[in-house]
């Protein structure tokens, strides 16, 4: 669109066309809102079906959204100033259109914006569940750390099988990594946790969670290790060997130290993902009250209060764990890239 407009530059009165489009978008959004209001009024007056009104409102809403977004894209990609009013019009039109469309599609005649805070930010309830959330956070961290440590160990083993020159080692490792990484964690969790009891293996909830997360995590960790080891140029090994170092010494003192540096940032990102994945495990296993993780605590609290506030509390808990880690990853990346560690 951008390039077209530029190519045809002399033939199209750009500024004028854009203004007209902006006006059209705003008009469309007004019309869609007008029909939406008409329908709400009609709803109030009788119980009849007002499909035509809904359809018209949605039609104009789509028009407003399309024009609005197209116009925003156009002006945004230009990156020139002096069109702020036009851009503003496009923005407003698309947002209004979107609102009208969503409202038409979803409302049950009783939208309750005034309940936003009592639903999501019920401070009294939040205060009540903070101690349980704190305990849940501790359990989440405990679960994540245990699973991560075991994933690192198992992942290292799988990675070394994966780069083995012998096919008999390489093959099973490849299958494991591909199967586990290609299966949704939720499905994997059900397979493991639903299947094991039938075989007579009854795992305590915590152990079961660790097993699921380790099976999943080790496959990802193995791939990170493999990529790290293979990212070290062959010249490094040549140099070490040319100095008389044995194969083992070259690996231990030259290749692995560098590989570790290369894998630290992706491993940390992976650990963040694993921390969030603990919530999925909770769905499958359902911890007891004392060992419940953040999400488990929130679900229990939400079930008895019919409020979304506990989930917000849990989300805040996860963020308190993950955001410092995300920052730490960035810090480690910068340090390692500078090569000064």
């Amino acid at each position: 669109m951008d390039t077209q407009a530029q190519d045809l530059g002399p033939f199209i009165p750009e500024q004028g066309a854009r203004s007209h489009a902006a006006v059209a978008a705003v008009v469309a959004s007004f019309v869609s809102v007008a029909f939406a209001v008409l329908r709400v009024v009609a709803d109030r007056m009788n119980d009849g079906d007002h499909g035509a009104l809904t359809f018209t409102a949605q039609l104009f809403a789509i028009l407003a959204i399309a024009l609005g977004f197209a116009g925003m894209f156009e002006t945004a990609t230009r990156g020139r100033s002096g069109r702020s009013l036009v851009t503003f019009a496009f923005t407003i039109a698309s947002i209004t259109g979107l609102a009208a469309f969503v409202y038409m599609g979803t409302h049950d005649g009783t939208l309750r914006p005034q309940r936003f805070f009592t639903t999501f930010f019920d401070m009294d309830l939040m205060g009540l569940i903070v101690p349980s959330l704190a305990r849940g956070a501790f359990n989440t961290i405990r679960l994540a750390f245990t699973a991560e440590l075991l994933s690192l160990a198992l992942g290292l083993v799988i990675a070394s099988l994966r780069i083995s020159p012998r096919r008999i080692f390489r093959w099973p490792a490849l299958v494991y990594v591909d199967v586990v990484r290609g299966t949704p964690l939720l499905v994997l969790a059900f397979i493991i946790y639903a299947g094991l009891p039938d075989l007579g293996v009854r795992l305590p909830a915590f152990i079961g969670g660790v097993v699921i997360l380790t099976v999943n995590g080790s496959a990802y960790v193995a791939e990170i290790f493999r990529a790290g080891l293979q990212s070290i140029p062959r010249g490094q090994r040549d140099a070490a060997r040319s100095l008389g170092m044995t194969q083992g010494a070259a690996q231990l003192f030259v290749v692995i130290p560098q590989a570790v540096r290369a894998v630290i940032p992706p491993l940390m990102s992976d650990f963040i993902a694993l921390t969030k994945d603990t919530a999925i495990v909770t769905i499958v296993i359902g911890f007891t009250v004392r060992s419940a993780d953040l999400f488990g605590v929130a679900r229990t609290a939400a079930a008895s209060t019919f409020s979304a506030t506990p989930f917000i509390g849990a989300a805040i808990g996860y963020l308190l764990i993950t955001i410092p880690m995300t920052r730490l990853v960035g810090y480690a990346e910068r340090k390692l890239r500078a090569g000064l560690v």
């Binding site: 010249g235 140099a239 060997r241 040319s242 100095l243 008389g244 540096r261 090569g339 560690v341």
Partner: protein, 244 residues
């Protein structure tokens, strides 16, 4: 003439279908500087790598001070301690400082203590004019400085022979000379050197002998003034005319 320090007899090497060395025989005497010239892909680097068995020769023998190092009973790690090698891409260990790069093989191979190794590392850094860069990481050094550290690292093992594999090819032009200066001094100090290079000036000035190799065989060898300025064979002539 003294016994050769290194001797190759009919060495062959192939990578898959590609025959890189088609029977190479030559020798180098102690304190001799031999420059190996030839078009890219001619097998120059492979010859060097066969001498410390970073590449295993498929056929032929390599003797170091009369010992056949292609013999499977030979402890190749012992042999390599006597054969220093410097690479085109430096291959410094990026996680170690300049001094740390030199100390690593001293402590892990020669079993020196950290303190001893550090003293020797500083000596050798001083020797290549980098005593002030001992604690700098490779990423903080210019290409020329990195290559001088790499030379110091090889020399610290006190090798009997040094192999240089196109050590100035990856350098910016203005950094080439500082590396060549170090090599020239090394030659005058009596180190035996096998130098794969494209630096004609260096070959002319420093080499005792020039070997021209093409397509996996030695085409011509002799003193630099003869091979460089009055080559006898057509292939050598064609190559030299392109280089000069």
């Amino acid at each position: 003439m003294t016994d050769p320090i290194v001797r190759l007899t009919d060495v062959t090497k192939r990578f898959g279908a590609l025959e890189v060395l088609k029977g190479v025989s030559f020798e180098a005497a102690p304190r001799e500087v031999v420059c190996i010239l030839g078009p890219s892909g001619s097998g120059k680097s492979t010859i060097l790598k066969c001498i410390n068995r970073l590449e295993e020769p498929d056929g032929g023998k390599v003797y170091l001070e009369g010992v056949d190092i292609t013999d499977p009973r030979v402890d190749i790690n012992k042999v390599r301690q006597h054969v220093g090698m410097v690479f085109q891409s430096f291959n410094l260990f990026p996680h170690k400082t300049a001094a740390g790069n030199i100390m690593l093989p001293l402590t892990k191979v020669k079993q020196m203590s950290k303190d001893e190794a550090r003293v020797r590392a500083l000596e050798h850094l001083n020797h290549v004019g980098l005593s002030d860069k001992a604690d700098a990481y490779p990423s903080q050094l210019s290409g020329g400085q990195q290559q001088r550290v790499a030379i110091a690292r090889a020399l610290a093992m006190e090798p009997k022979i040094m192999l240089f594999d196109e050590v100035t090819s990856a350098l910016d032009p203005e950094l080439v000379q500082e590396v060549l200066d170090v090599m020239q001094r090394l030659a005058t100090e009596g180190m035996t050197m096998l130098v794969v290079t494209h630096e004609m000036g260096f070959a002319r000035e420093v080499a005792d002998r020039v070997v021209f190799i093409d397509d996996g065989v030695i085409v011509e060898e002799g003193p630099p003034e003869r091979v460089l300025d009055a080559p006898q064979f057509e292939r050598t002539q064609a190559f030299m005319s392109k280089m000069l």
